[in-house]
C-alpha cells in the first residue's frame, strides 16, 4: 500500500510518520508524475493559499483530479480540506473543487483561538478522538453525496464523499492512528 503525502508545505512529516506507523509505504509528492503509482494521497494542513498557488504553478491540479476520478482515495486535513472543497466563503483562491462542500477559513478565529477537544466519530468506534484545531476551517454547506462523519457543537468538522475524506482538525498531531487507519481501509477497498 503506497500512499503519497503532498509535500508542498505544512504538516508533511507528521502525516508520513503516522502512515509508516500504520504499515503503509510513503512517498513525498512534489511533482505530478509522482502521483501515478499511488494507492492514495493525503493533502496535509498548512497554509491553503500557499499550497494552492504552488499546486497550480507546478501543474499538480490536473494530476490530483485524475487520481480522484480514477476512484483513488484522497484525504485532506485542515488546509487540505479547503483545497478539496468546491467553494470558500468570501475567497477566490485556487481550489481543487473535488468535494461538494463549502468551507469557511479560519472559522474558529486566529492562532490564539486554536484548541484541542475530544470528538465523537462513530465510524472510528465509541472511544473519543482527541482532535487538534489550528486556525481551522469548518464545513458550512454540504452537497447531496456528502456524508457527515463528525460534528463539533453542531458544526461539521469531518466528512466523506465516496473516495474523498476531509477533516477540519489535524489527526496527525496526536498518537491516535484511527483516522489514518480508516483512510488506509478506504485505499484497500479500491
Amino acid at each position: 500500500m503506497k500512499i503519497g503525502v503532498l509535500n508542498i508545505q505544512g504538516a508533511v512529516s507528521e502525516h508520513a510518520d503516522m502512515l509508516r506507523r500504520c504499515g503503509a509505504e510513503v512517498a513525498l509528492i512534489k511533482r505530478p508524475e509522482q502521483l501515478a503509482d499511488l494507492n492514495g494521497l493525503i493533502i496535509p494542513g498548512g497554509e491553503s493559499t500557499t499550497i494552492g498557488k504552488l499546486v497550480e504553478r507546478f501543474g499538480l491540479g490536473p494530476a490530483i483530479k485524475d487520481m480522484a476520478a480514477a476512484g483513488k482515495p484522497i484525504f485532506g486535513t485542515c488546509a487540505g480540506l479547503i483545497l478539496l472543497s468546491g467553494k470558500v466563503a468570501g475567497s477566490e483562491q485556487f481550489l481543487l473543487g473535488l468535494m461538494d462542500v463549502t468551507v469557511a477559513r479560519n472559522a474558529f478565529g486566529r492562532q490564539r483561538e486554536s484548541f484541542e477537544t475530544d470528538l465523537d466519530i462513530p465510524v472510528l468506534g465509541a472511544h473519543p478522538f482527541r482532535a487538534v484545531f489550528i486556525r481551522a476551517p469548518l464545513i458550512l454547506g454540504l452537497g447531496e453525496g456528502v456524508e457527515v462523519l463528525c460534528r463539533h457543537n453542531g458544526r461539521v468538522v469531518a466528512a466523506r464523499q465516496g473516495n474523498l475524506l476531509a477533516t477540519s482538525f489535524h489527526p496527525e498531531l496526536t498518537d491516535d492512528e484511527r483516522m489514518h487507519r480508516y483512510f488506509l481501509a478506504m485505499a484497500k477497498e479500491q
Partner: protein
C-alpha cells in the same frame, strides 16, 4: 503550520498582499524592515498597533509581529491585538539585557533567534514554539545564517553520539536545560521547527538554507529592498519548495533584477551586530 514555507517582512497592507499573492505562509508586520532599522539607528521598538492591525485586515494568512527582547508588555499588547505569532527579536533594541520573556505565560506562540544549540534550548525552555537562526539581519549577507544553522546541526550530531551518562555535563557546557538535551538526543533534532533568518536575499540563499536542514525561511529586507519585490518574492517561494532541484532553481533565479545591496559583516562593529543581542 508554517513548516516548509516562507515568511516575509512587510511594512504596509500593499506589501502584505504582494507577499500573500507570492505564496508566503505568513507575514511579519513591521514599521521598518531590518535594513532601514540598521540605517536609522536609535532605539527600535514594537511597531505601532495601527500598522499591525491594517496588515492583519489585508491578508488571510497568519500575521507575526516583533517585540523587544525581554519586553513582556510589548508581547502582552501584541497578544491582545490578536497577532498569530510573536517574534522576540534581536532586530529591535533589547529592553532587558539579562532576561528574555517568560513565554510560558502567553497563549500566542513565540519564535526566537539562536546562534547555537544552547541558545536554542534556552529559548525553548522559556516556551518558544519555533526557533530561527539569528544570522545578521538587514545585511543581505547569508554568511551568519549559514554559520548558525551549521553550528546547531553540528552540535546536535555531537549530542547524538554522547553517551547518556555524559549528558548532564553536555547540558552544563552549553548552558541548556538537561531535559531538553535528553529530548534532542532522542529525536535527533530540535523539538520545534528551526527556520532560517538574517541575510537571505536570493532564491539560491533560501535553497542553501533548506539544503542545510532548515524547516523554512524568513526573508526580511531581501524582498522589499530589491528592484522587483513581486518577482523576487515568488521566486523565493518556489526555490524554497524545490530547494533540491537545481534546474528549477536556475529557472526561478532568472531575470529578477538587482537584489538588495549587501553588507560585509566585517564592516559592522561587533557591538552593532544584532546577533550579539540576547544570550
Amino acid at each position: 503550520m508554517q513548516k516548509g514555507g516562507v515568511i516575509m517582512d512587510v511594512t504596509t497592507p500593499e506589501q502584505a498582499k504582494i507577499a500573500e499573492e507570492a505564496g508566503a505562509v505568513a507575514v511579519m508586520a513591521l514599521e521598518r524592515v531590518p535594513a532601514d532599522i540598521r540605517a536609522a539607528g536609535g532605539v527600535a521598538r514594537m511597531a505601532d498597533p495601527e500598522v499591525i492591525l491594517r496588515i492583519m485586515d489585508a491578508v488571510t494568512i497568519p500575521v507575526m509581529a516583533k517585540a523587544r527582547i525581554g519586553h513582556f508588555v510589548e508581547a502582552q499588547i501584541l497578544e491582545a491585538l490578536g497577532v498569530d505569532y510573536i517574534d522576540e527579536s534581536e532586530v529591535l533594541t533589547p529592553a532587558d539585557e539579562d532576561f528574555h520573556i517568560d513565554k510560558h505565560r502567553f497563549t500566542v506562540p513565540f519564535v526566537c533567534g539562536a546562534r547555537n544549540l544552547g541558545e536554542a534550548l534556552r529559548r525553548i525552555g522559556e516556551g518558544a514554539a519555533m526557533i530561527r537562526t539569528k544570522g545578521e539581519p538587514g545585511t543581505g549577507n547569508v554568511v551568519e545564517a549559514v554559520r548558525h544553522i551549521r553550528t546547531v546541526n553540528s552540535e546536535i550530531r555531537k549530542l547524538a553520539n554522547t553517551p547518556d551518562d555524559e549528558l548532564m555535563t553536555f547540558a552544563k557546557n552549553i548552558a541548556a536545560p538537561y531535559e531538553l538535551v535528553r529530548e534532542v538526543k532522542k529525536l535527533g533534532r530540535l523539538p520545534v521547527v528551526n527556520f532560517a533568518a538574517g541575510g537571505i536575499a536570493t532564491p539560491a540563499d533560501a535553497a542553501l538554507m533548506m539544503q542545510l536542514g532548515c524547516d523554512g525561511i524568513f526573508v526580511g529586507s531581501g524582498i522589499f529592498k530589491s528592484r522587483d519585490p513581486k518577482a523576487r518574492a515568488k521566486a523565493i517561494v518556489e526555490a524554497t519548495l524545490h530547494y533540491n532541484d537545481p534546474k528549477v532553481l536556475a529557472d526561478v533565479s532568472r531575470g529578477l533584477g538587482e537584489a538588495m545591496p549587501g553588507l560585509e559583516i566585517a564592516s559592522i562593529r561587533r557591538e552593532e551586530r544584532m546577533q550579539e543581542r540576547g544570550w
